[in-house]
């Protein structure tokens, strides 16, 4: 059994909302697991069940070899960082960090030692005497992290802790969280709806949709090998291009072009997925794109345009290529990197 084990966990809220469906998941000790998915898919619910803040309707949760379904949150030895930080407004930073330790009956000197260590690690030593209202967003974020770290819990739970920060600070804190987690080595679950955050932080990633884990794996596995239309569309930025198509006798005909000898026995209506970064310009290729708009990011250009059938399409090319609006491009799919999904079930078929 692994460190954290969810078995067929289901959550139905009292009002009848089924937020999580029979979800099973194992997290190893020291692993950084990320739950990612669109708003309302049940990420927070799943996390809060691990914390003990929501009852489990069905199924079992084991932490460190112990069934914790009925264990009170105060006894689970988990720490959580909330989206709005939930710092204690009437206590200064020192007491915010010390509060959990005091409740565990730890003696004063040890508390002081631990708080000072954590404060140093997070570079908040200068603010220990301040109230949370006198801190900036990034500093509050650090205090919230400190409150989690100082107790040395079995598991860290993060519920979108970075979403209240501005873009630059978010990237910085993201890095720091990752470094910190590697340094401290505590098992962590991080909830986000930002796929970049998910990709960069995760050891393993669980893509959740409608209360179900659609796919579980390392970020690269999921990026390279999405198992469903949903995962393919959710992971990757800009989003994967999807075209309607039809397979007959191992030949895929999309509107405007055909791909022969595909690696699938599937027959019928499909969606063809191509990532913008898996394309290159070559004379007389399959895809003809009429350019509408070019976004220059510096290192890359994002080229938006339309195919013959007016379908929107995106192509990512190196930033040193100049592409004018209105030109026609001929694009080739590199290394046959395309994904085929059954149109009715959304399952991957190649």
């Amino acid at each position: 059994m692994s460190f954290l084990d969810l078995k067929n966990v289901t959550k139905i809220y009292p009002n009848g909302t089924k937020a999580v469906h029979e979800t099973s998941l194992s997290v190893d000790e020291g692993e950084f697991m990320v739950f990612v998915g669109p708003s309302g898919c049940g990420k927070s619910t799943l996390l809060r069940m691990v914390a003990g803040l929501e009852d489990i309707t069905e199924g079992d949760i084991n932490l460190d070899g112990k069934l914790i379904n009925e264990v009170d949150p105060s006894e689970r030895d988990v720490a959580m960082v909330f989206q709005n930080y939930a710092l204690y407004p009437h206590m200064n930073v020192y007491n915010n960090l010390a509060y959990g330790l005091k409740n565990r009956g730890i003696d004063k000197e040890t508390i002081e030692q631990k708080v000072n260590d954590a404060a140093k690690l997070l570079q908040i030593s200068d603010y220990l005497q301040r109230k949370p209202s006198m801190l900036s967003g990034g500093q509050r974020q650090r205090v919230a992290m400190g409150r989690a770290i100082v107790r040395n819990p079995k598991i860290f739970l993060f519920d979108e802790p970075l979403s209240n920060l501005d873009a630059k600070l978010r990237i910085q804190m993201r890095l720091e969280i990752k470094k910190l987690q590697q340094k401290v080595g505590v098992t962590s679950i991080f909830v986000t709806h930002d796929q970049v955050e998910a990709m960069t932080l995760a050891d393993r990633l669980a893509v959740i949709n409608n209360g179900i884990i659609e796919q579980l794996g390392t970020p690269i596995e999921i990026y390279d090998n999405p198992k469903s239309l949903f995962v393919a569309g959710f992971i990757g930025s800009p989003q994967m291009n999807f075209l309607d198509g039809n397979i007959k006798n191992k030949t895929l005909s999309a509107e405007g072009f055909e791909i022969k000898d595909i690696d699938s026995d599937f027959e019928g209506e499909v969606k063809l997925g191509i990532r913008p970064e898996h394309l290159s310009q070559r004379e007389n290729s399959l895809i003809n794109l009429k350019v509408d708009l070019v976004e220059q990011l510096g290192s890359d250009n994002l080229v938006y345009g339309q195919l013959k059938d007016k379908k929107d399409f995106c192509y990512r090319c190196p930033g040193n290529l100049t592409i004018e609006k209105g030109t026609d491009l001929s694009l080739n799919i590199e290394n046959n990197k395309y994904y085929i999904f059954d149109k009715s079930t959304g399952k991957r078929v190649n």
Binding site: G52, S74, E75, H90, G100
Partner: protein
């Protein structure tokens, strides 16, 4: 220029308002520092006399009442005990009632709250006879306990605290739980400090409420030993300057409380963060 005129006009109105409030009080105070014969001959006075100590000391220490058993000092003591008791007891009970209503999973908590709330429509004066017979049954007539307890459940204070608790974010409770706080600790370490200013404001309100009680103390005490200041105001006899002096002194405790705690009082009434 027009601005100056309008603003001086509004200042004038305010000044007149203040004068209307203050002048009568001042006249009583000034008159209370003269001798009785002076007042009887020349009417109320606007300026201070020189019998201040004499009059006030006599009032404080004079054995008054029908049976000459109680001094004004003792009345002040009784009123203080009663007002403090009512203030503390009602704040403590309403804090706890509001906590239970908001944080415990009580079925029909809202309904329960409204039932508590409509007791505002049933003031003590309406239920005074049943309340009296309960107290008599329990042998609590002529005791501080009997003076304090029947008026120490405050629906208004419960309402205030309940509304405040409802604005406390859930994450705070959840975070505290994960930090190992149980229900009691959350109450003591979080809700009480967070509602500090509101608690002080309520203490003042309830102190003044308890201090101003008249009908209930009148009914539940038969011994003069339990007379309060407000009862004394009605019952007192003696010369006019002594009565004035007593009236002046009766205003002191509530004013003192407000002055001492006004910093919190204003913050609490006008909702702090």
């Amino acid at each position: 220029m027009t601005r100056f005129i309008t603003s001086s006009f509004s200042h004038l109105i305010l000044l007149i308002g203040i004068l209307i409030m203050v002048v009568p009080v001042w006249m009583i105070f000034a008159s209370s520092t003269h001798t009785s014969s002076m007042i009887n001959m020349n009417g109320l006075q606007m300026f201070l006399g020189d019998s201040f100590y004499e009059n006030y000391l006599r009032v404080l220490l004079y054995q008054g009442g029908f049976f000459k058993e109680i001094t004004a000092l003792k009345m002040f003591f009784n009123s203080f005990i009663m007002a403090t008791g009512v203030a503390i007891l009602s704040v403590v009970t309403s804090l706890m009632a509001a906590y239970a209503l908001v944080y415990y999973r009580i079925k029909y908590a809202t309904l329960l709250f409204w039932i508590i709330f409509i007791t505002i429509l049933v003031p003590l004066e309406l239920r005074i006879f049943p309340t009296y017979s309960v107290m008599a049954e329990l042998n609590l007539v002529n005791s501080y306990f009997g003076l304090i307890v029947p008026i120490s459940a405050s629906a208004i204070a419960t309402l205030f605290f309940r509304q405040f608790y409802k604005t406390v974010p859930d994450e705070l409770l959840e975070s505290a739980k994960l930090d190992g706080a149980n229900t009691w600790r959350f109450f003591v370490d979080f809700l009480i400090p967070l509602s500090k200013t509101m608690i002080v404001a309520m203490l003042i309100f309830m102190f003044v409420f308890g201090y101003n009680q008249y009908l209930w103390p009148l009914l539940v005490t038969t011994s003069e030993q339990y007379w309060t200041v407000v009862m004394g105001l009605k019952m007192m006899s003696g010369s006019i300057v002594h009565r004035f002096a007593f009236v002046m002194m009766s205003m002191v405790p509530p004013i003192l409380i407000i002055i001492v705690l006004q910093k919190y009082f204003i913050k609490g009434v006008f909702q702090d963060k």
